[in-house]
């Protein structure tokens, strides 16, 4: 019996330990590095992204004013978080765990690196290591680029990947590419990731209900899935591939949250009728009081005569 209780106690003690265990990042992701060097510009961009996406839980770095959650989100300026290497931070932000959401589809790789850049500004001991320029074995010395265009005839977006060097430009074949469109919150994947053919071409089907701006324009971002090989070369292009959408203001129509002139009709009627009926009856009673007075006056003046 005692052993049983001891076991229970051990489990009780272990549960919090287990839940607070180290966040292990896969070995092959640990060494991931930014492809660009961090500078004031990246730090500034990172600060902006941090305040939108991270601050609500992690607070202002260095102030330790993060939310009192279990487990605590922690202050990114502290050693606990800073001792992660770049690849580990990148992985944790991308994938998320428990209450920490995944930012993979919200931020682009470059944006996550900008956030890392901002966080590193709180670490004076930090020295950045930049990923050596990718020179894929197949395309030595070439700059790999993506080009997208919209084909309205069959509602597809055609992507062309090519490796351009000083001398020539060759198509990038057999590379997995993905297409994302910018939405209000994050990037939305369009169609499945595709593999380029011999000409370096890939075709994405555009959903019929893809919403664009008032002119039908959408910001399309093309990227290689395997950034380690092809780099984070991406291409953001405005294409006329969406539906024309004229946004309706949330305060244009009658609504509960609107001002009183645009209140729902039923609530105006309910309130108005209620007030009218109640005060109508009150008026009726006041008239009766007047009648009482008049009866008194007439009768007493009759008596005097």
């Amino acid at each position: 019996m005692r052993r049983y209780f001891f076991g229970l106690l051990l489990i009780q003690l272990l549960i919090p330990t287990l839940s607070a265990q180290e966040w292990i990042v896969p070995a092959d992701k640990k060494g991931k590095l930014s492809t660009f060097p961090f500078n004031d510009e990246t730090r500034k961009a990172g600060e902006k992204l941090y305040s939108i996406n991270c601050m609500s839980c992690h607070g202002t770095p260095g102030k330790a004013n993060y939310l009192p959650l279990v487990p605590p989100p922690g202050d990114p300026a502290t050693e606990k978080i800073q001792k992660n290497n770049d690849g580990e931070i990148f992985y944790k932000v991308s994938v998320g765990r428990g209450q920490m959401p995944s930012f993979r589809s919200v931020l682009t790789s470059n944006e996550i690196w900008n956030v890392v850049s901002f966080l590193r500004s709180f670490n004076t001991a930090y020295k950045q290591q930049v990923m050596p320029v990718i020179t894929s074995s197949a395309y030595p010395g070439a700059v790999i680029g993506l080009l997208v265009s919209f084909n309205p005839a069959d509602s597809t977006i055609i992507l062309k990947a090519s490796a351009t060097s000083e001398k020539s430009s060759v198509p990038v074949a057999d590379a997995e590419v993905k297409l994302l469109v910018k939405r209000t919150f994050g990037m939305l994947p369009v169609d499945e990731p595709q593999t380029t053919d011999k000409e370096g071409l890939a075709t994405f089907r555009v959903p019929a209900d893809l919403k664009g701006d008032t002119a039908g324009m959408v910001l399309v971002s093309a990227r290689f899935t395997d950034e380690d090989v092809f780099g984070s070369a991406g291409k953001d292009t405005l294409l006329n591939a969406g539906q024309k959408v004229t946004p309706v203001s949330l305060v244009a129509q009658r609504a509960m949250w609107n001002n009183v002139r645009k209140a729902p009709v039923w609530i105006i009627l309910a309130y108005g009728l209620g007030v009218l009926i109640a005060w109508g009856f009150i008026l009726l009673v006041l008239m009766k009081l007047r009648d009482i007075y008049l009866v008194g006056e007439i009768v007493s003046s009759d008596k005097k005569e």
């Binding site: 609107n258 009183v260 209140a263 105006i268 009150i282 009648d291 009866v295 008194g296």
Partner: protein, 450 residues
């Protein structure tokens, strides 16, 4: 009943007895002046606290970001609740033909008028910028329960005032010739307010019609006033307020506190005005039964209000309920439920406790518990909002009423006492004409030694 010019036998003698018994109290005696002097001094002291609040802002209260509705709003809910008794006594019981409520109805109306009038002022004390009160009417949104509340409190106050005033008119006419030795101004006021009442049958008929309109109108109004007050909470997403039965829960609670207030008032008028002949033990016995009934209904709503969320235990509800049942608020919660509801119901089931004095004690306990219950409804749920309040000092999280807040709250209670005193002392406290018309006259002729 009233209205017939052919009065029953012995009417004029009864009228003389009743009017002399009741009008005896309409005078400025030493006790009245001392009592009013005390009340006005106390009010002035408490209003000084409000002056400080006005000058320095709501920071002098315990109200902060987390708990922004504290003692003031709890007090407001209590006032609205207590004022509902006017409707219960005069309308629900009166219209159902309960003759025994006749001498109590006016007391209930005085309570209703006083509490409804001050409820509006209590809301102003909770405003950081009371100078912006007109904005409620200028820019009020019909979608907000605040506008509904302001409207309905005003309307209810006005109707309660009429409901008190109408049956007073014939009494004023009776009294104005019998007020020898009182200040001339009082007689002038009586003359003016009696609206040339000459006991003409036509006048009685009109009065009866007007009363009937008011007695019916007050029922939906009273339901509206407290349902709308409950909406202030129920439409605000908070664990503990997120309830669909808040309207009836509030109304049933209102009947409890209002009935207790009427019993306390009845006791004091009976003793200090020597009205044992009119406010008999039988009246206490009957209103004691009413208190039992409304308390049991309230108990039922309490059960429902805590059982359903207690069964589902949504995470924040669970924190809230745990705090009430076993946490920080547990002594207050169980004290209120037991001393203010369960034990009074059990005691009042026995006839020996439905006597004036035991009922006074029980009613004081019930009324005090009713106030504290509003505090429990208003304050604890704000400690656990659905979205955490961030970046505030720790001392802002726990609400503690300050001395100034308490003094301002006392001011409102003193104001109620002043209104009750004025209405009960300067005007007949019991309906002379109705009591004189009462053919049975049984209680009046009997000598009651209690």
């Amino acid at each position: 009943m009233s209205g017939s010019q052919i009065k029953s036998e012995g009417y004029s003698e009864r009228l003389e007895t009743v009017s002399s018994d009741i009008l005896r109290n309409v005078r400025f005696n030493k006790g009245f002046i001392l009592w009013m002097g005390f009340l006005i001094l106390a009010l002035a002291a408490c209003l000084f606290a409000y002056y400080i609040q006005l000058r320095k802002g709501l920071g002098v209260t315990g109200l902060r970001d987390v708990t922004s509705w504290g003692m003031y709003i709890a007090n407001f809910v209590f006032f609205v609740a207590t004022s509902l008794v006017g409707m219960l006594i005069s309308s629900v019981l009166g219209l159902s033909g309960a003759q025994w409520v006749k001498p109590i109805a006016r007391i209930a109306e005085i309570i209703a008028v006083a509490f409804a009038a001050v409820a509006g002022l209590v809301i102003i004390s909770d405003m950081g910028r009371p100078d912006r009160l007109p904005y409620v009417f200028l820019f009020g949104r019909v979608q907000s329960p605040i506008l509904w509340d302001v409207t309905v409190v005003t309307t209810y106050f006005f109707v309660s005032l009429l409901l008190w005033f109408l049956p007073v008119i014939p009494d004023l006419a009776i009294a104005k010739t019998r007020l020898n030795g009182r200040p001339g101004i009082l007689i002038k006021v009586y003359e003016l307010l009696s609206l040339k009442w000459i006991h003409h049958p036509k006048q009685y008929e009109i009065l009866r019609q007007a009363m009937r309109v008011l007695l019916i109108l007050i029922v939906p109004l009273a339901f509206a006033i407290h349902t709308v007050t409950s909406w202030l909470f129920a439409v605000t997403p908070r664990p503990g307020w997120d309830s669909s039965i808040f309207g009836p829960y509030f109304i049933s609670g209102a009947f409890v506190s209002g009935t207790a207030a009427v019993i306390i008032a009845m006791y004091f008028f009976r003793v200090s005005y020597k009205l044992q002949k009119y406010l008999t033990e039988d009246h206490f016995e009957k209103i004691g039964r009413v208190l039992v009934l409304v308390s049991i209904v309230y108990l039922y709503f309490n059960l429902n209000e805590f059982m359903v969320p207690g069964y589902k235990l949504k995470s924040l509800d669970a924190i809230h309920l745990k705090e009430l049942f076993a946490g920080e608020y547990a002594p207050l919660f169980w004290g209120v439920q037991l001393l203010g509801l369960v034990i009074p119901v059990i005691l009042l089931l026995f006839r020996r406790f439905r006597k004036p004095f035991p009922m006074l004690i029980i009613s004081i306990a019930v009324l005090a518990a009713a106030w504290l219950k509003r505090y429990i409804i208003v304050v604890p749920p704000q400690g656990h909002p659905f979205l955490p309040v961030q970046h505030v000092p720790v001392e802002w999280v726990i609400y503690k009423p300050t001395l100034i807040e308490t003094a301002v709250t006392f001011a409102s209670i003193i104001l109620v006492l002043i209104i009750v005193t004025v209405l009960s002392k300067l005007f007949p406290i019991l309906p002379i004409w109705e009591l004189a018309e009462d053919e049975s006259g049984s209680d009046i002729d009997k000598t009651d030694n209690n």
